[in-house]
């Protein structure tokens, strides 16, 4: 059965993502070593560790405060481009989450993705996290429109995010350090798209659980 969009679920989502990042730190770093500066895993692990510590230390009272706290923590601790990018994602989610329901969550995720696009100015096909995030929110909206509950819609979003991540393998990077490699970035999956797909899959897992 579909789970309600409760504050506690959102916190569980972030904890699941943090655990996912911790388990895959080396993998994310290896992807980034191939086409970047080999720090995406370390940066994201540091950021998400700080996010969870902040959530445990000062639990936010409402979803907007939660998103702001997560966003600002990532801005302060990630260090690389994912700091301002994921930071903006959560900061833009905050005002779009006044009520806790499926439509609000979808609107908030969409606002977050649009924030990432505005911040980094990446377009689809640039071989970035946007190549996972945009298909994810498109699939999410389509599933909700066709009557799916939040759990099923997030599963569709996660599938789309992973598909988008896999498709980055054959792209030439046009943003970030990888763009300095030009055609040598072909054949490597983008690390940002990988962590973004993990973020969406964590949401699907948590909202799909009882």
């Amino acid at each position: 059965m579909a789970a309600d969009v409760e504050l506690s679920r959102i916190i569980l989502w972030l904890k699941h993502f943090a655990a996912n990042v911790a388990d895959n730190t080396q993998h994310l770093t290896d992807l980034d070593a191939a086409i970047g500066d080999a720090d995406h895993g370390t940066n994201m692990a540091r950021g998400m560790t700080a996010v969870i510590a902040a959530l445990d230390e000062s639990p936010p009272a409402d979803p907007a405060a939660l998103c702001r706290q997560v966003g600002m923590t990532l801005v302060k601790t990630v260090g690389g481009a994912s700091g301002p990018l994921y930071g903006t994602f959560f900061l833009r989610m905050a005002p779009a989450l006044p009520t806790l329901d499926a439509q609000s969550l979808a609107a908030a995720l969409r606002a977050g993705v649009e924030g990432v696009v505005a911040r980094g100015r990446a377009e689809p096909g640039d071989k970035t996290m946007v190549d996972a995030l945009l298909p994810a929110v498109d699939a999410l909206d389509a599933a909700l429109d066709s009557g799916a509950g939040i759990a099923g819609a997030l599963r569709a979003a996660a599938d789309a995010a992973e598909h988008g991540r896999d498709a980055t393998r054959d792209l030439v990077a046009r943003k970030g350090r990888a763009s300095y490699l030009g055609e040598r970035s072909i054949g490597h999956v983008d690390p940002g798209a990988t962590s973004a797909a993990m973020l969406i899959r964590s949401a699907a897992t948590v909202f799909g659980a009882q």
């Binding site: 720090d39 940066n43 600002m72 801005v75 302060k76 601790t77 990630v78 260090g79 690389g80 481009a81 700091g83 301002p84 990018l85 930071g87 903006t88 911040r119 980094g120 377009e123 689809p124 096909g125 054959d170 792209l171 030439v172 046009r174 970030g176 350090r177 030009g182 055609e183 072909i186």
Partner: protein, 240 residues
């Protein structure tokens, strides 16, 4: 009259401190406020938009602040910092596209002379003038647009535009002919580039829906053009 303040945003604290020390050598004790937002700490590389906010606040004495950045996420952090400032503070900040060291040194000297923020920003943005006049502008190896020859146009339908495999096929086709083949992106108004180079094709940034012009000159130019237009016609897939 207070001087314009400066902020240095860098992935590296050591780099920022050294660049500022270099700039201060030119100031002979003149008190220009230069604040640092560099590294997550003294030894960890990275940038933090909240540090940039603090640095801007420190450097702002009312005459405004010019922000110099190294690269990549330093720029993202600085842009996010602007969003975190209040409207009054934001209106007094200019993010400079200048190269970090050259821009910082010029900005410091000009700010120390009492210039207003727009002049400091303009001089910083032109900071490469010295090196360019000394060394000459970088040579660009793109071919000049061929005067004679055959030309044609096509619209790119590939969902990811003209890169990766489609670009490789175009470059391969262009290279296989004696004729000299050039392409340009009409939609973005790009320069002509050598069609036999995948990295030069990549600089065109051809996206889906963009219109490309191709020109061939020299021996068998018409044949080369025909083959390339045929390749474009099958959306840069391998011949059947």
């Amino acid at each position: 009259m207070t001087a314009v303040g400066l902020v240095v945003v860098s992935h590296s604290r050591a780099l920022a401190d050294a660049a500022i020390a270099l700039a201060r050598e030119m100031l002979h004790g003149n008190p220009v406020r230069i604040a640092v937002a560099a590294g997550l700490d003294a030894t960890t590389f990275g940038t933090d938009a909240t540090q940039v906010v603090d640095a801007i606040t420190d450097a702002d004495d009312g005459a405004g602040v010019v922000v110099l950045m190294d690269l990549g996420s330093a720029v993202l952090s600085a842009e996010l910092a602007l969003e975190l400032l209040d409207d009054d503070a934001r209106a007094r900040v200019v993010l400079s596209p200048a190269p970090l060291v050259e821009g910082l040194v010029v900005a410091a000297v000009v700010a120390a002379g009492g210039a207003e923020i727009q002049e400091v920003a303009d001089e910083a943005a032109a900071a490469l003038r010295g090196k360019l006049s000394q060394l000459g502008p970088p040579a660009v190896t793109a071919p000049s647009a061929p005067a004679d020859g055959a030309s044609g146009r096509f619209v790119v339908a590939n969902p990811h535009g003209l890169h990766a495999r489609p670009a490789a096929l175009l470059a391969h086709e262009a290279r296989s002919h004696v004729a000299i083949v050039s392409v340009r992106n009409l939609t973005s108004g790009s320069e002509w580039v050598d069609a036999s180079s995948i990295t030069q094709i990549a600089t065109l940034g051809v996206r889906t829906g963009d219109e490309v012009e191709v020109r061939a000159s020299g021996d068998q130019a018409a044949d080369a053009l025909e083959r390339i237009l045929a390749l474009a016609d099958r959306d840069f897939s391998d011949a059947g």
